[in-house]
Symmetry: C2
Subunit: 204 residues, 2 copies
Amino acid sequence: MENNKMSAFEVTYEKIRDMIFNGELSNGQKITETKLAEQLGVSRTPIREAIKRLEQEKLIAENRVANPTDRDYQNIFEMRILIEKYAIVKAVQFFTDSDVEEMERLVEIGYSGTKEETMEANKAFHERIVAATKNDVMIDYFNQMQSIIYLFRKTVLHYKRPGLIDEHKAIVDAIKDRDASRAERLIEEHLQADLDFALYYLRK
Amino acid sequence: MENNKMSAFEVTYEKIRDMIFNGELSNGQKITETKLAEQLGVSRTPIREAIKRLEQEKLIAENRVANPTDRDYQNIFEMRILIEKYAIVKAVQFFTDSDVEEMERLVEIGYSGTKEETMEANKAFHERIVAATKNDVMIDYFNQMQSIIYLFRKTVLHYKRPGLIDEHKAIVDAIKDRDASRAERLIEEHLQADLDFALYYLRK
DNA sequence: TTTATTATAATTGTATACATAATCAAAGAA
DNA sequence: TTCTTTGATTATGTATACAATTATAATAAA
């Protein structure tokens, strides 16, 4: 019997996070506990916990919705590239045939799926690579970055960055060929291209 | 005019953390908000926030003082090695003469200082290397790991691991010689030796 | 007009109160 | 004895109350 009853804190956390994602709370906007509490129909207590967690994810800073600078994004991607380059070497070493098939399936969704499906598949693609480290600490840090990365991914896919899915395909091919150095190079180029593209559009 | 008035949350956080560090709260021991609140003379509110943060640092998990497994420590060090190897290449590229002098000063304290001074210097040694990345995200993740790492460092220095300071010296020499690949190799060996030594004594 | 100064309001930090859920022990049934 | 069941206890989650701080705005002085 599963426990599908979420605490007020969890519900609140997700709601506020989604409000930031969909722009209902915009960049730089002041966050006040009282207003959110009233708006979401809970007391300040769970709101505060949610805010603490969102601060940890850098989605909120100094009582405001984060307004990351280019530098912030570059820092996140520098960290992310470091982790994913490390992870993909593990994937090349240890991915089984069925792991590779799963990656190919995710690439296929990128070609034929809806925008939502593609976003999910894109996220899963990178998660599977990082999971290859089998290192919970690394996976945890990677996941912490996801909230900020989400904003990126939305931009990149909204504008349909050319070649994105082809790059994914090329990475899977490198894993299949068990070519670690090629895979490392491709994932770095892929992530760097993502960053450059998103920064370009975020600044327009 | 500086603000040296700490909030109850901050005081509480440091107190609980130190209680874990010095063994007043031992591995696996149950953490109860009510008791800590009474003991530290504050309400449960700041206690809860402190616990949340300690959970983030992995010093508390599931309402208990963390009792990390060898695997946990290995994971942290795998992450740490990844960051420090990346950082030291930056240090080799960008450290000025005065940065190098400062590193040499820290090594010197390792040879001649008290145990407390040596622990501080050891911590500072690695912090300076990571600071060379000038990447706040990376620095932040590294700092999050410090609490667990502290427990290690205490063990390693308590048993006076042979060669530890010599290894620091060799690393500084590699930076002085601007030899990135040697510096990378040395820092990895150094950290791996730290891990192996500490695990050996922690399990005895 | 600009800058201080003060009063007011709003917001956060902390304490307390209450409700729900988890834990544990005792009593009874198999 | 071992396993349920129930009741009592304790702990946590959430709401509310109060205190202290910070921000806002209005007025007075330069």
